[in-house]
Symmetry: C2
Subunit: 340 residues, 2 copies
Amino acid sequence: MATPTATSRPTPEHIFNTFNAFQQSAALKAGIDLDVFTAIAEGANTTILLAAKTGAAERGVRILCDYLTIHGFLTKEAERYALTQESAVFLNRHSPACLASMADFLGNPWSKKNFEALAEAVRKGGTAGAVGDNTKPNEELWINFARSMAPLAIPAAEFIAGLTGAAKGKPCKVLDIAAGHGMYGVTVAKRNPYAQIVALDWPGVLEVAQENAKKFGVADRYTTRPGSAFEAEFGSGYDFVLLTNIFHHFDAANCEKLMRRVHAALKTGGKAVTVEFVPNEDRVTPPTSAAFSLLMLAGTDSGDAYTFSQYEKMFANAGFVKTTQCPVPDSPQQLLLSEK
Amino acid sequence: MATPTATSRPTPEHIFNTFNAFQQSAALKAGIDLDVFTAIAEGANTTILLAAKTGAAERGVRILCDYLTIHGFLTKEAERYALTQESAVFLNRHSPACLASMADFLGNPWSKKNFEALAEAVRKGGTAGAVGDNTKPNEELWINFARSMAPLAIPAAEFIAGLTGAAKGKPCKVLDIAAGHGMYGVTVAKRNPYAQIVALDWPGVLEVAQENAKKFGVADRYTTRPGSAFEAEFGSGYDFVLLTNIFHHFDAANCEKLMRRVHAALKTGGKAVTVEFVPNEDRVTPPTSAAFSLLMLAGTDSGDAYTFSQYEKMFANAGFVKTTQCPVPDSPQQLLLSEK
C-alpha cells in the first residue's frame, strides 16, 4: 500500500501503513466472521442489503467493505460491492476451495502473543513464549491446525498424489509424518484405491485425520501411529514418506535425525516427499517463503525456513544421495523429492 | 506482497499474507525497539556486527533483518544490510525527521484490543471497547499520542506556518484546538515572532505541549486552556483556528457543533485550518486516507474519515460559506481552509 509521490523525497506513508498492517489481518478475519464474502456472493451487494443479511450495522458494514476493497478483496462500483476472483474462490463458503477456516489458525491468540514479544525473541534467538520445542507435544495447537488448515493443503495434496503415480493404481505404502488434518495421505488414497496410508501425529490430532479419512471414503486403508516423529515406531518398506511442513519447526540436527529415520523406513527406491517454504539462497526472495522464517523465530526455539542448499546438505547427511525440487502449483511452496 | 503467478488462476497467497499482516507491524516495532536502523546507519551492517551492537542473537537479527528487507525497510547485498532512503530519514535516530517514537502510539495495546473485537464493532457500528466517545476525557491515550506522534506532524505544521503568513511576521492570534504535542501552534510561533498561540486540550496533554513550546523557545507566547473542545471557553478574535486531526473522532452533528464554536471565535476574515484524512467520494481511494475509517470504526462510537463534500456541508452548516482543500506536502493528508 506504499503510495508513490510526485516528489523524489521519501514520505513516511509506508512506515505509517506498516505500523497499521495488523488492521489488515483483523479486517479480513472480521469479513470472514461476518461472512460478508458469502453474503455478497448471494447478491447482498450494498451496505443496506449486507447489513440486513449479516445482522450488522450499516456504518460498520460500509467501513469494513470499503477497507476490504482498498486491500483488494472486493471491488466497488457505484456503491455496489462485488467479489474479486480470489475472494469468490477462497473466501465464499459456497466455493469448494474456500479457505475461510484458516482464520482460526493463522493469527491465533498464541501466535499473536508470540509476536507481541518479538523483540525479546530476536534478543534470545528463539521464541519468547513458553512452548518453543516442537519435538514435544502441543496437542491444542495442532488440533486447531488440523481443523483449520485442510483446505490450504489441497493443491499440494493433489500434486503429491499425481507424483506418487496414484492414477496408475498400483499397490503403494505411504507414511504420512505429522499428518495433521491428514489430507496429504487421504488424497493419495482417494486417487489410488490400492494405496495404504499410515498416519503419524499426536493422538488428538490423528482423530481429525481419521475423520477426514472417513469423510473421503478411505478409512479402511488408513491406519494411525500416535506419537513423536522422533520416537514412534515408523514401520518399514514404504514407497513414499510424506514430510509436509514439518522440518521448519526444528533445527538442522533434528531435521537430519528425522530424515535418517525416514531413510530407514523407506524401501530401496522409495521416496521422501517434502513440502516446505524454501526461500532462495539470498533468504529474502520469494517474499512469502522468505518471510516464513519470522513466524518460526517468533514461535519456535530453533525452527526456520531453510534454503534448498540447506535441505540438500541435511538430507545428504541423512543418507539421501540426491534431492531435487520443483514448485507446488498454485502455492508459494516447494516440493523436494529425495530417493533412497 | 501479493505475488502474480504464471497461471491466470487465483492463488491464496494474498489471503495468506493478509492473515499474517500483523507480523509486519510487530517486525517494524521490534526493529525500532532493538534500534537496528540506527545500528546499520552507524556501520553495523552484517548479522554478526548487528548482533554485537544490539545485544541480540545472530539468528534473531538475521531473520528480523531479512524480513525487514522483504518489506522494503532494508536492502541486502552479499550478506550486508543497508538502509533504504525512507529508513535513513524516518527510522534512524540520528535523523532529525526520525519517526521511531510513533511505534509507541500506533498499535498500542488499547488499539490492538479494539481490533481483536472488530467483528463486534462492525455489528454495533461503533467500537466494541469501553471508551468510544472522544468528547469525553481520555488523558492516558492522548498523553501517549502527544509524546509519540510529534515528528509525524512536522511537515503539516511547517505547511500551516507558511499558510498563516508566518514569514511576514505580522501580529497574529492562533487557537490550536486539541493541540496534543502542540507542534502545529509551536511551529507557527517559531516561524512568526509576533504570533500568540492559545492551546486547548486536556490538562495532562497540555503539559506535553508546554514542554514543546519551551523546547522551541516560544513559551512566552504560548498560553493554554484546559478542557473540552465542546465546552471550554475559546476566547475570540482569532486570526486562525487550527483543527488538526480532531473531526475524525466525532459524528457529523458534533463536528458541526465544534465548527460553530470555531466560527464564533474567529475574527471576520479569520480562517479555520483543518488537517485530516480525506478520502475521495468513492471512499476507497487514496488508500491511506480511505483506510483510516476502519481505525475510527474500531476505536470510536461514531468517528469517520469524512469526504470533502461531507466537510463542505458540515462547515457550511456551521456558518462557513466556502471551504477549499489542498494536499499537505509529503503527507497523505489534506488541508481544508474555511474563511469567516
